[in-house]
């Protein structure tokens, strides 16, 4: 039991080390086996932990293990310690399980790639860092994982490094998230001086005693943590890196930029929720950020032509839902949506990857089509994912988790009608862009030939994920249909209980009906626009104003343009004019003046006697005059 916990992050780390140092000498199959096996073993350890976790005495579920003192200096100390409670266990399970499936899938997807071993080495390093992030018992170690996943994200976005555009996307991702991370680091400084430690649990236990409700210090710390969270989770205003991050191989997008890393911000806020509970203003900020982000990204997803960019914007939008839920205090609902999202979004990305793989790296939606018959497994699994993403009522996991969020936004005191309206509108958009994707890719006429079919390593993970994307919602049923709360019970030792569970049942039913109607009408709208009457859409798009809006949404609301203008251009301008270092000019100026002076004095040495005599006499007279006048 004790070392099982350590084993979870250790296995992927070991895999990374082996692949890095011996990778080139190993045959591809062995390398793949190490890459997948290490994550598989981590998954098995995690699953065996569940058993131990539940059979232990009911209280003191949480396990805290300290391995060594990382650093102790002048009153500051941090440990290498892991902390396991239901929240981190959930994260570990999702990360290792989905990570394992995606690793298996990658065996097929990356089979013909030169960088096969490098790919698995980076992926293993990622899983390691992510596990450290979620298991860390102190914020400094969490920060290590936090930056570690950022590094792996950088390495994997730029995996095909021959194309400079990929490198640009990779650096953009790293640098933009680092802006947020820097804010978060300052948050850690303040937390340390407030509590004398960075141990998460002791901070969280003491915060309600040390800080007054609504105090400014709680607000400042919460906002700084949110800075880190919005960077990692691609929320406003740091969301710009995620669509570009799609430059990486598709399994990477599935694992890092959909299922796990991008939800680290959600995890951070959920983990530190006692701090947020002390600052209603900060919570409201989170909710507002979430709502605006989910809408902006939803509109952008509507008009993208690259299938992966649609999914990227949809990820931003879905994480927006999670932020909204966090902001209204729906902690358990957030984590529930995180889990279902991890399954269905990984599934959608892997499905998209299978399509891209089959169409010889074609990513443009408008050059796909008619794949329903040719790739049936991909089609049906993708459909399952799409149903879950758009939250089709009753039959999808996404419905149950999104419904919980909508209901909480509606009913909890921190929610309000504006947020609720935004969430409902977002659900409508989600249904449209999801089924736009389905219709364009799988329906209609074929526009690109299928060059190869996905193998067993790719289809099996798809099927498994599809089952989860449909069925995992059943572990948490709303009061209107069964009131079964396995997930909520599992989480209840972590999060405070919300009061709404005891109110009347009819408003909840109403919310469910409303969202169902909205989602189905979104689906119908997609059918109308992309299958039945595509000419109507074409006519709409030919209007100049619509065209402008289309372009604006397509470019992600002009954020790149704005940041380019505000930050990049001034930097490049400064760099251009000051490449030679203006400070240096001061010193060379001094040197020049000395040289000039020297030349001037040299001029007096003419070799003509009469000048010397003249100078001597003039000097003598001057001195005499001075002497006399004194």
């Amino acid at each position: 039991m004790l070392y099982l916990l350590l084993l979870i992050p250790l296995m992927p780390l070991l895999g990374f080390i082996i692949l890095t140092f011996a990778g080139r000498r190993l045959p591809q199959s062995t390398a793949g086996m190490i890459g997948c096996g290490s994550v598989g073993l981590a998954m098995l350890s995690a699953f065996s932990l569940i058993l131990g976790f539940f059979t232990r005495h009911p209280e003191g579920h949480d396990i805290n293990q300290v391995y060594w003192t990382w650093l102790r200096a002048g009153g500051f100390s941090a440990d290498f310690g892991l902390y396991l409670d239901p929240l981190s266990l959930l994260m570990v399970l999702v990360v290792t399980a989905i990570g394992f499936l995606i690793h298996i899938y990658s065996l097929g997807y990356m089979a013909e790639d030169e960088g096969f071993r490098r790919f698995f080495a980076y992926m293993n390093l990622f899983v390691f860092s992510m596990l450290v992030l979620v298991l860390a018992d102190n914020l400094l170690l969490l920060y290590l994982g936090w930056e570690g996943v950022g590094l792996c994200s950088y390495l994997l976005i730029g995996f095909w490094y021959q194309d400079p555009a990929n490198g640009r996307a990779a650096r953009k991702a790293f640098i933009v998230t680092r802006v947020g991370d820097t804010g978060m680091a300052i948050g850690l400084f303040i937390l340390f001086y407030q509590f004398g430690t960075l141990n998460i649990q002791s901070i969280l236990h003491r915060a309600p005693n040390n800080w007054v409700m609504g105090s400014s210090i709680a607000f400042v710390v919460a906002v700084l943590l949110v800075m880190g969270a919005v960077g990692k989770s691609a929320q406003l205003p740091l969301q710009t890196w995620l669509p570009d991050a799609m430059a990486g191989p598709t399994p990477v997008s599935a694992l890092i930029h959909a299922a796990t890393m991008v939800t680290a911000g959600v995890y951070l806020i959920a983990r530190t929720h006692p701090i947020f509970l002390l600052s209603p203003a900060a919570m409201h900020l989170v909710a507002v950020i979430g709502t605006i982000t989910l809408l902006l990204a939803g509109f952008s997803a509507l008009v993208q032509s690259d299938i992966k960019r649609v999914l990227a914007y949809s990820t931003i939008s879905q994480i927006g839902y999670m932020f909204l839920a966090l902001g209204v205090g729906a902690w358990s609902a957030t984590m529930f949506h995180f889990m279902t999202h991890a399954f269905f979004k990984a599934l959608l990305f892997l499905g998209a990857g299978a399509v891209i793989h089959a169409l010889h790296h074609e990513q443009n939606l408008f050059r796909m089509g008619g794949l329903k018959e040719k790739l049936p497994v991909v089609y049906f699994t993708f459909l399952a994912g799409a149903a879950s993403l758009s939250a089709l009522p009753l039959i999808s996991a996404g419905f149950y988790s999104k419904d919980q969020i909508l209901w909480n936004v509606f009913s909890l005191p921190q929610g309000n009608y504006l947020l609720f309206a935004g969430a409902i509108l977002g659900a409508f958009l989600t249904a449209i862009y999801t089924f736009r994707m389905v219709f364009l890719v799988f329906w209609g006429t074929a526009r690109t030939e299928v060059s190869r079919l996905p193998g067993r390593t790719m289809t099996v993970p798809l099927v498994i994920l599809a089952v989860f994307a449909i069925a995992v919602g059943l572990i948490e049923l709303p009061r209107t249909m069964g009131n079964f709360s396995l997930f909520g019970n599992f989480m209840q030792s972590v999060f405070p209980k919300n009061a709404v569970e005891h109110g009347p049942i009819s408003p909840e039913l109403l919310v469910q009906l409303l969202s169902s109607v909205v989602i189905l009408s979104g689906l119908y709208a997609a059918y109308e626009l992309f299958v039945k009457n595509p000419q109507k859409l074409a006519a709409l798009l030919s209007r100049p104003l619509i065209k402008q809006i289309h372009l604006f949404w397509f470019s992600g609301w002009g954020f790149d343009w704005l940041y380019n203008l505000l930050f990049i251009r001034p930097l490049l301008f400064f760099v251009r004019i000051n490449k030679e270092d203006a400070v240096d000019k001061i010193y060379s100026g001094i040197a020049d003046i000395s040289c000039q002076l020297n030349r001037l004095l040299l001029r007096t040495q003419t070799g003509r006697i009469r000048w010397y005599v003249l100078a001597s006499v003039a000097g003598a007279i001057l001195f005499l005059a001075l002497a006399v006048s004194l």
Partner: protein, 516 residues
Amino acid sequence: MILFWIVIIPFIGAVLSWFSAAKHPLSARWIAIVALGIDLILALSLAKNMMGPPHPQSTASLWAAEISWDWIPQAGLHFHLAIDGLSMVLVLLTLILGIAAVVASWSEIKDRLGFFLFNLLAILSGILGVFLAMDLILFYFCWELMLIPMYFLIAIWGHENRRYAAMKFFIFTQAGSLFLLLAILGLYFLHGHFSGNYSFEYQDLLNTPNQWPYSLLFMLGFLIAFAVKLPIFPFHPWLPDAHTEAPTGGSIILAGLLLKTGAYGMLRFVLPFFPQDVQLMAPLIFVLAAIGIIYGAIMAFAQSDLKKLVAFSSVSHMGFVLLGIFAGNEIALNGALLQIVCHGISTGALFFLVGALQERLHTRDLNSMGGLWPVIPRLSALTLFFALASLGLPGLGNFLAEFLVLLGSYIVTPIITIIASIGLVYAAVYSLRIVQQAFHGKPKGTPMISDLYNREAIILGLLISIILFLGVYPQPVMNLVAPTLQQIRIKPVDATSPLEPAIIVKRDVLVIKDHS
């Protein structure tokens, strides 16, 4: 006696390798390595003793080893060497980077090899002397001893613009040294005037009474010399030229060690000698440190000469050292010390790698590189590693160093700290640019070049393991320097000390913690 040997062995090696180089170039190189290796073993054996039970908190026992011979006793001059944890860490750094510098020049330097090795090892002797001297005139002597061989190193074996760079380096540092000499003499007379004991002993001068305005002037004298060496923001222009034009071994020593003598000087002399005046100057220094961090990082990004890029990144990183030293509490001081070590290793390694690249490609221009990863994967991966160290990736020592500096200085000067931490973003910008432009992208008609040789890989592997070790378990280093840093911080015991408020605030926090 062991300290004497530690200082003198590199010099003996220097002479021996000079003589043997003409006949046996290879054996000359090996003599240099062996001399430094023996020295390293000596130092390590001493370090092992120091790791033992903690010292009692008296000043006398702070020194783990000490020798003091009369030099000119009438003038209060002694050949006095002593070592404590702080010096020990820097001695070890010196010897490791010294070996790296010899290896880096293995195939680069063929012309006048003997004289090259002589200069290289003489500099190391000088640096070791600086870190060990406890007599201020001896310190000054060693301080100057580093300078002249370094001048030769740049002027003889440097690159295109070497004369200019060597002259600039010499004038800048010499101008700074002049102030140092004046300040040492001033302090000597001030102390002698009050105590009747005219002495250049470090321990004696520590007790010099605080005399306005003399102490401020003397403090400025010390500070300017160290500020030029470190360098502090407006005094930095010598650095990019010297680092860029120097041969690889010279760049490693410049960035890894020579800059650190400035930081060492501040820790050893400025803070303990002039606690009040440090407080007076601190706000200005903080501003300069922050400017240096940001400006150095942006200027690093501006460069297309790879060596110049790394050189400017040093300006940025030294800003953190400066910030940590003047923040003055134990957390920040620990951070500064760790930064000194980690920057020495990581930047030394980066210069090593850039030198290796230049030897293979005959260019340092980033714009003419590209797509080198598949050609030289080992060299590329190692450069990526040290670029990541330089941008402060957690898990590597540099991260802990910068984290501690910022953490410690936050309580002293929050606004400056926030500005300084923006430098972390720019560090990512310029560090990743190296990797992108040199190794990623499309190959630009690269000729067949060889990857790292084994001797290069071994020494870089050693540096990597040090950085990793310091990143996950820096405690041995922290323990070594703890007694000294406590002294440096506690020295000004009077209530007006600049360093105390931070500590008091911190203690308050800790008290609150204990009660709740």
